[in-house]
Symmetry: C2
Subunit: 349 residues, 2 copies
């Protein structure tokens, strides 16, 4: 089988892990779980040269320094520097237009955590085989809870042993439907990981969103290379209609497939998700950050402390997260994590 | 009536309000409630020259800078600089030996909060009248809860309209007894505030603890004045047996009286007590410190935030105290406040 080319998407800044994740140092570039950053781990887990080609990163100028510092020195790696954020359909189209038509691309968000890298690679190979057969493949993440914050994908009939036709994609459900999905067994989370043969993706984009396809072609026809960087034509790129690859292609194509994967995935979408992804002690407590060694927890359960330096001492709390970063201290209940992004400090950073 | 001479005791460092209160900047010298420090407020509430004489402060060398910075410029004020901490009997004896025998002294801890200064003055005048009749007078603080952290004093038969004979002093009770005391009605908290005629106090000390009396006399006979400061003889002072005035005198004398006072008293003995003493918003929340203006509370009830600068953002908590001071962050449940003093940071400061 030909190689699979990772396309790593580094967009958005995110405020849900504020104050640790900030506009100037956003989530993908922080060592949130273990010693590697989420971006480094994303690149590393698709780096076996027997399977994967050189990575292509799609990012904005704001994150370019982080990307170049963390990408490693693979001379074949490329970085597409988006002149503006135009959502995932445009980002993936720009990457596709920089690869040969016959290549298989594996689209990977850079801000997710995957505990089981071997399962990821196995799923990527299965997805690559399906893509080589002309399928547009979504990863279906094995659902472990009735999450209402994710989209779902329902598996239809099997396609050999590697995956299934997509019966349908479902928008973020309410809790009742999410519980039905979990019980029903054929639904999994849409994790935003996709495998396509480049020519097939561009053909389906052309068929369903010719406006996006045409403006993306114009942007990449005028692109300029600068070392490993690729700079699309700014005016043309900014003219690309903004849409997600889910809406623009996956929900419209008749060739959508899903590879179901159970690989310890988390989108680390809030502080509670990060707490769950980190190793915990017998009381469910977690200490992280440069100040972790000085932290002290007394009579605490399911408490996570992350501090970049100050000592944090906590007494008698349960299901609470304490984050100290620079000039910000954030303390929240586990239930309160959804509101972190709306705090004044997060909004005004 | 002759004037009442305030004797302000500034001993101990205290760890229960750590990290705000520290060895180098202890509780009496911090503006914990309102703009005045507890020490300043203690001096101020006994400063009406029609009633009170100049204050005499008893403190150690460690706190001398704070005392002199906050005492004001009354040229008649005196500061006894203890060469070592020898508990309250020694401190009060040193002050007594620096005042005329006929003077009435009013012993005041410097780390308590009293909301109702007028009631304090009224109680002080009543205590002063009883002291002038030869009574050794304790203030009995109207108990508002079955506190197990305070000693209690039981009122016996009335002495005119000003107070009562002390039926007995009671050590810190368990909860069951504390609840009985509260229901019974004749018990009040022993707040460590006392009024004595100097000669009577020294006579009772001589009678019950001649060792303390003799060594205190030796220490003060060798004292040296230095401006407003009085330096007892160090070797002699260090030889004074260490004991509380309660044990050494009040529980032994047959002339103990109690003046009952309801004056919004708090010993600010822990963070929860400080929370209760401070003004709260409609949700029971309190913000304090230089960083208070930047703090943000979302979905919080009975939460107190004190920060010396960093912004503190809190979501979804109830009955929690967050303190940021220098390089320390302390977060505790209301129930956990009793353990603050045992935190590593508090112990090792």
């Amino acid at each position: 089988m030909s190689k699979i080319f990772p396309v790593v998407l580094c967009g958005g800044s995110g405020t849900r892990l504020w104050p640790r994740s900030r506009a100037v140092a956003p989530k993908p570039f922080l060592p949130l779980v273990g010693d590697s950053t989420l971006f480094e781990a994303t690149v590393a887990r698709a780096s076996d040269p027997a399977i994967f080609g050189a990575p292509m990163v799609v990012t904005g100028a704001a994150h370019l320094d982080h990307v170049e510092a963390q990408l490693g020195d693979n001379p074949e790696a490329r970085i597409i520097v988006e002149p503006a954020a135009r959502n995932t359909a445009a980002a993936i189209a720009a990457a596709a237009l920089s690869l040969p038509d016959e290549a298989v691309m594996l689209v990977c968000p850079s801000d997710h955590y995957i505990a089981d890298g071997a399962s990821f690679v196995a799923a990527a190979r299965a997805a690559g085989r399906l893509a080589n057969e002309g399928w547009l493949v979504a990863f279906g993440i094995a659902a472990t809870a009735p999450e209402t914050g994710f989209g779902y994908v329902k598996a239809g009939e099997a396609i050999g042993e590697d995956g299934y036709r997509v019966a349908r994609f479902v928008e973020k459900p309410d809790l009742e439907r999410a519980m039905q999905f979990l019980a029903e067994g054929t639904y999994s989370w849409n994790g935003g990981i996709f495998a396509f043969r480049v020519g097939d993706f561009l053909g389906e984009l052309e068929a369903h969103r010719p406006d996006i396809a045409a403006s993306a072609r114009a942007a990449m026809a005028g692109a300029k290379a600068e070392g490993r960087r690729i700079h699309p034509d700014a005016a043309a790129f900014k003219a690309i209609p903004s849409d997600s690859v889910d809406y623009a292609v996956m929900e419209k194509t008749s060739r959508a497939a899903v590879v179901r994967a159970s690989m310890g995935w988390s989108d680390i979408g809030n502080w509670q998700a990060l707490h769950a992804a980190r190793p915990q002690d017998a009381n469910g407590n977690t200490l992280a950050g440069a100040g972790a060694g000085r932290a002290e927890l007394v009579d605490c359960q399911n408490v996570m402390v992350e501090s970049d330096g100050l000592r944090v001492s906590v007494i008698g709390l349960r299901d609470v997260i304490v984050v100290v970063d620079g000039d910000e201290v954030m303390v929240t209940s586990a239930e309160g994590v959804q509101k972190v992004g709306k705090l004044t400090g997060a909004v005004n950073q």
